[in-house]
């Protein structure tokens, strides 16, 4: 257990400095996204469900040498991903993505000696015009979700600064995971964008807990209430991570869209630890001191 009193003194002196760290990270992320947009014409790498094309999953341990060597000469943007079973290390499936129709891709794969049937393969095809529409709409949905969430927060707390602090934390929870995915070159699917929407709802509960405890409780000092909320909030984030992280990490053979939802939720929850307990906690402490809520 940490010594609350000693930490309290340190926290009182440094909470404004703690606020600077996430603000710098958010600013750096915004610059990164800006540069990324200038280079790629978009804020993320989109997979076939958002840019059009075919994703083909071939089950089992297929010999892919010939495919990897020859397919790029027919489909310039073809990419390969192998799914392995984490427990055994065995390859369980191969995912091939290309901007092509399923029958074109299938024909070439069969020509290269891999027999494809409805039993051993799965395909996901999205036409280019539809995928452009999907992407636009999901982005609109993301904005609508964010605005609706902001309205709920304003209605809940009815004061500007605490509400903005929660909304800023939610914004960081979306922005920073997106930057991490961009940095690692992860292509994002339509299910991935749904996960970002979910993150809007998922990540703010610790912020609501913190703000409620800091603003509405009358017993104990402000620091004591923030530390109490921190202890509960970390347990919440911990169990939430325990619910979503295994779905991404440990279980293989799940559809890729399913795993991506949990990857994004896990990243968001992890980032939320910092955005709630560094950013939001510092803003709310500052606000409480200014408004004499002790």
């Amino acid at each position: 257990m940490f010594k609350e009193e000693r930490f309290s003194g340190w926290y009182d002196k440094n909470y404004k400095i703690l606020l600077i760290i996430p603000v710098i990270i958010v600013l750096a992320s915004l610059i990164y996204i800006g540069v990324f947009y200038a280079q790629n014409g978009d804020i993320m790498y989109k997979d076939v469900s958002l840019k059009g094309g075919t994703s083909m999953t071939i089950d089992g341990n297929v010999d892919t040498t010939s495919l990897e060597k020859n397919l790029p000469s027919y489909f310039s943007d073809v990419s390969f991903r192998k799914l392995t079973d984490v427990t055994t290390g065995n390859k369980v499936a191969l995912i091939i993505e290309a901007s092509a129709k399923p029958e074109e891709l299938k024909a070439k794969i069969s020509e290269l000696g891999v027999n494809l049937t409805d039993e051993n393969s799965s395909t996901e095809f999205t036409g280019p015009s539809l995928s452009a529409g999907f992407y636009k709409q999901l982005m609109i949905a993301l904005v609508i979700s964010f605005v609706l969430m902001s309205c709920v927060i304003f209605l809940l707390f009815k004061s500007f600064i605490p509400s903005i602090a929660v909304i800023f934390a939610a914004f960081s929870d979306i922005l920073i995971p997106l930057v991490i995915l961009d940095m690692f070159g992860v292509t994002i699917s339509s299910a991935g964008i749904a996960a970002f929407l979910m993150l809007i709802g998922y990540s703010v509960d610790t912020d609501i807990l913190l703000t409620t405890r800091a603003l509405k409780k009358v017993e104990g000092t402000l620091n004591h209430r923030i530390f109490g909320a921190f202890s509960t909030g970390m347990m919440m984030t911990g169990t939430a991570l325990a619910a979503v992280l295994p779905a991404f990490l440990i279980i293989s053979g799940l559809p890729d869209s399913f795993r991506q939802i949990f990857l994004i939720l896990s990243l968001g929850l992890f980032v939320d630890i910092f955005s709630t307990w560094l950013t939001n906690a510092s803003i709310i402490k500052w606000y409480c001191i200014k408004h004499n809520i002790k």
Partner: protein
């Protein structure tokens, strides 16, 4: 432990959820009849959709595989045989050269497993060169449903969906691996025309065609032969009846034709050409005695090929079925374009289902250990796990009642919902087991916890609602299960959990 009305409510809802899901069907065996051809002997004997076939001619039919084995080994020739079919509704005896039934697996419960779990194909379809209104898409849905039923595809769900920009689509989901048929049926508009020279005699659909033979003496595979060393072919034939107007048209068109004696027989100079989507399917010679006569009965023929006789037979059967379907239902009103097509192999679906069970056990295990370390009370851990389980069960039951297909996204929604549920329970536990706040009554503290929970609830609802429409509702399952989960949490499980915690605290 005192059982409060909130805990009773939870118990009752859980019992109703189990009844809604009906997991006891897991032990059922047989095959489910999805549809029966109306003109068939099976239909005449009394077999109807919804019945479960358990044996045929004394041979037990436990599953689809056994049914298909029976069908492929017993109906290779065209001769009719006596079939004694036992179902859950009694015994039916009839003569047939095929079963004329569309069957599917007997569902293991009332849960509707989507493609990601059971394998199958899903297509999002638009008109190729037109933007359709909601009403037009609804018409398209009913025509397509009729066509798919006539073709004999089972376990199919067709509905109209629209997106945020007001575009309307038709969404088709088929369980099982029938992506090829799905594509074939959708991409061919199915415009059938029978022409003599340039004159159209009749077209597909019930305006010109009053009857299409599907079994018995009216339809079947008549001969199979080896073409070359690696190829076989089988010929199919079936009878159709023309309406009076169509047969009169045929009489008028043929009355001007002369008889051609040079081809060795007595045929008219021009044949009856059958076109499907402007491609010539077959040319039938017209006997000289039919010149100028209004004939209502016409025999249509065609063939199928394959590397083995069995393949050729299957191909011929599939071609016959497709042609019969087109003749019965007429052409689709629009040329269709598949804008999204997903197929999931049944093997991947099985693997996914198995992994979901592991995942659920793992998540329950990890969370239990974390709670046990934090609160050091078995009862608390038990109450949290019970609440998580209840939320998942209630969500599954409500999704079943709403006929929501459980796909990967909806299961992700259930897990995410469980995650937020645990968060809320921790807020309640943290308020209840707060050692310093003793001057505030536990009821008061739980009320404070419920404020946080309500706030979190409304933000999740706000975040999920736009997903109902975005992207033609393809991610609706995710939003729906999340919303069901958190709503069940707010209304049923969380209040019961708060009461349980109060009781545990009192012990």
């Amino acid at each position: 432990m005192k059982i409060t009305w909130k805990i009773w409510l939870l118990a009752i809802v859980l019992i109703l959820s189990v009844l809604a899901i009906a997991p006891w069907h897991y032990f059922d065996s047989g095959v489910l009849v999805k549809s029966v051809e109306k003109n068939s002997t099976a239909y005449d004997s009394g077999i109807r959709s919804g019945m479960v076939i358990t044996s045929i001619n004394g041979k037990a039919i436990k599953n689809l595989e056994e049914y298909n084995n029976f069908a492929s080994t017993n109906f290779i020739s065209n001769s009719s045989q006596k079939l004694i079919t036992n179902t859950n509704n009694g015994e039916f005896i009839f003569l047939a050269n095929n079963l004329s039934l569309v069957v599917a697996k007997v569902p293991k419960s009332n849960l509707k497993t989507g493609l990601d779990l059971s394998g199958g194909a899903r297509a999002l379809v638009q008109a190729a060169n037109a933007s359709l209104t909601k009403d037009q898409v609804n018409d398209l849905v009913s025509i397509t449903t009729e066509r798919f039923n006539a073709f004999g595809l089972s376990d199919i769900a067709i509905k109209s969906v629209s997106d945020l920009s007001g575009q309307n689509y038709m969404l088709i989901e088929i369980a099982g691996s029938t992506a090829t048929e799905l594509k074939d049926l959708l991409e061919s508009q199915g415009k059938f025309e029978a022409k003599v020279g340039n004159d159209t005699v009749f077209i597909g659909g019930d305006r010109d065609i009053t009857y299409v033979g599907v079994s018995g003496q009216d339809a079947g595979i008549y001969s199979c032969d080896q073409g070359s060393s690696n190829s076989y072919y089988c010929e199919f034939r079936f009878v159709i009846s023309l309406s009076e107007k169509a047969s009169q048209r045929q009489a008028d068109v043929t009355s001007n034709l002369s008889v051609n004696l040079s081809s060795g027989g007595r045929y008219l100079e021009k044949p009856l050409d059958l076109f499907v989507d402007d491609n010539l399917l077959d040319s039938l010679q017209i006997g000289a005695d039919l010149k100028g006569r209004a004939t209502t009965s016409i025999q249509i023929s065609g063939s199928g090929t394959g590397a083995t006789q069995q393949d050729a037979y299957k191909d011929a059967q599939a071609s016959m079925k497709k042609l019969q379907t087109i003749l019965k239902t007429g052409s689709l009103p629009y040329k269709l374009e598949i804008v999204k097509l997903d197929t999931i192999s049944p093997a991947l679906g099985k693997e996914f289902t198995k992994n979901l069970v592991y995942l659920a056990l793992l998540v329950f295990g990890i969370i239990s250990v974390m709670l046990l370390i934090r609160y050091k009370r078995m009862k608390v851990t038990g109450a949290v796990v019970l609440t998580m389980f209840s939320e998942a069960l209630i969500t599954l039951a409500v999704a079943t009642l709403l006929k929501q297909n459980l796909d990967a996204a909806s299961i992700a929604g259930i897990i995410a919902g469980m995650g937020t549920g645990v968060n809320d329970q921790i807020v309640i536990l943290s308020e209840s087991f707060n050692k310093e706040d003793t001057h505030v009554k536990i009821k008061e503290r739980i009320k404070r916890a419920l404020f946080v929970i309500m706030g979190a609830f409304f933000t999740i609802i706000a975040a999920m609602v736009p997903l109902f429409w975005a992207g033609a509702g393809m991610l609706r399952g995710f939003a729906l299960t999340t919303i069901i989960g958190v709503t069940a949490g707010i209304l049923i499980t969380r209040p019961a959990f708060a009461d349980m915690v109060e009781q545990i605290k009192g012990d």
